[in-house]
């Protein structure tokens, strides 16, 4: 396959992944590495490098809109970024020690987790009170408000140490596997810290760029980022997620989500199998 053909098919595959990822809210970054390794026979290290670059692009692109709409909480994001970037640096350092088959199995498990991550329950209608100024959330100024139909709704973070620890894990997975690990980040903010769903998803997205940049520097110096591969992947994923975001308001996503979830499960099982049998 010459470079024109290879770039075209990789671009098309990444476009579809980005499109489905943003339309279903499951994230496209998580399927890029399995797509490249299983469908195109790319070495998992090049795949991780390219995926990481595309994750920075989509996260920063989407974050630019969310931040301006006032959903993301910049302070909560910044505090938790200490945990995610430290985790990402540790993950990138570990990536050179862990055998590639181990990376494949771990990625397979993360894919299965992303597909079956606990479904979110509706936000309680009663708004939480302003934080006690002497509590940890109060001292760290981890409160805010977000726009909703009935006006601005205030909220404050809870269980901050637990959330911080989970974020370290999310960062480490991101650094090891070149993914955004949005599912773990949302778990930490939505379930552990009790933040409103819209705030946790958008703040998680906002943080993914910084987390990925921390490990991308290490991967760059190690020669994992091959421009001939990063180019079609990044352009494809960002074009796809822009298309997905444009359609998001009008599309019925329930069936698509089921379909995409099935794809993620299949890729996850395939990654585990390939890792287990030593093919990756």
């Amino acid at each position: 396959m010459n470079n024109v053909l290879f770039s075209t098919v990789v671009f098309a595959g990444s476009l579809i992944a980005g499109f489905l990822g943003s339309l279903t809210g499951l994230g496209g970054g998580v399927v890029i590495v399995p797509l490249l390794t299983i469908a195109f026979g790319v070495d998992i290290r090049y795949a991780i490098g390219a995926s990481l670059v595309s994750v920075i692009a989509t996260s920063s692109g989407a974050a630019s809109a969310y931040v301006r709409e006032g959903f993301s909480n910049v302070r909560i994001g910044m505090l938790l970024e200490i945990a995610t970037s430290a985790g990402a640096l540790a993950g990138a350092a570990l990536a050179s020690i862990v055998p590639t088959s181990g990376l494949a199995i771990l990625l397979g498990l993360v894919l299965l987790f992303s597909a079956f991550a606990p479904a979110h329950k509706e936000d309680p209608k009663t708004a939480p009170a302003a934080p006690d100024p002497h509590s940890l959330a109060g001292r760290l100024q981890l409160n805010g408000s977000y726009p909703a139909a009935g006006g601005m709704i205030p909220y404050a973070a809870r269980r901050i140490p637990l959330g911080f620890g989970l974020m370290g894990v999310a960062g480490m997975l991101s650094g090891l596997l070149g993914i955004g690990s949005g599912a773990v980040k949302v778990l930490a903010m939505d379930l552990a810290m009790g933040l409103p769903f819209k705030v946790s998803t958008t703040t998680s997205n906002f943080m993914i760029g910084v987390t990925a940049a921390a490990s991308a520097g290490i991967y760059f110096h190690r020669g994992y980022i091959a421009p001939g591969l990063a180019m079609p992947v990044t352009l494809g994923v960002i074009a796809g997620s822009l298309m997905g975001a444009t359609l998001l308001a009008s599309a019925r996503t329930a069936q698509l989500r089921t379909l995409f979830r099935a794809v993620i499960v299949a890729l996850g099982i395939e990654m585990i199998w390939n890792g287990w049998t030593g093919r990756i």
Binding site: D43, S60, V67, V74, V210, S215, A216, L235
Partner: protein, 122 residues
């Protein structure tokens, strides 16, 4: 008073501009790469790293100025990696204007971690 809303809006604009510039550079490098190397077939099935000049910041800049297609793509990639870093630098400045000293410190810590990942290698 410099409000959270203003900080959010300006940060959003910064991110958007950086992503557009990075992707434009990657696209330009990509077109050049396909014109010059389109008929070759680069192999990604076996890992052997990338040529040394694509692994260092000065190397990428030098080759990109010499019109190397892969280096121009890599330059776009470096801009993209720099985007979240710039966002954190901007946050330091924004929190300083809000007189939130705690958050200036937190942002500087994140910045130090990022710098260690990007410059702390060898």
């Amino acid at each position: 008073m410099y409000t959270d809303e203003e900080l959010d809006r300006q940060m959003g604009l910064l991110l958007r501009v950086c992503v557009i510039v990075s992707c434009a550079v990657i696209l330009a490098g990509g077109v050049l790469y396909l014109i010059r190397h389109g008929r070759e077939s680069e192999q990604f099935g076996m890992f052997h790293g990338v040529p040394g000049y694509l692994e260092t910041v000065p190397g990428v800049f030098r080759e990109a100025r010499a019109d190397g297609a892969r280096a121009i793509i890599q330059l776009g990639v470096l801009f993209l990696i720099a985007t979240p870093v710039l966002r954190v630098v901007f946050a330091v400045w924004g929190f300083a204007r809000q007189r939130r000293r705690l958050y200036v410190g937190i942002s500087l810590t994140v910045l130090a971690l990022l710098a260690w990942g990007i410059f702390g290698q060898r």
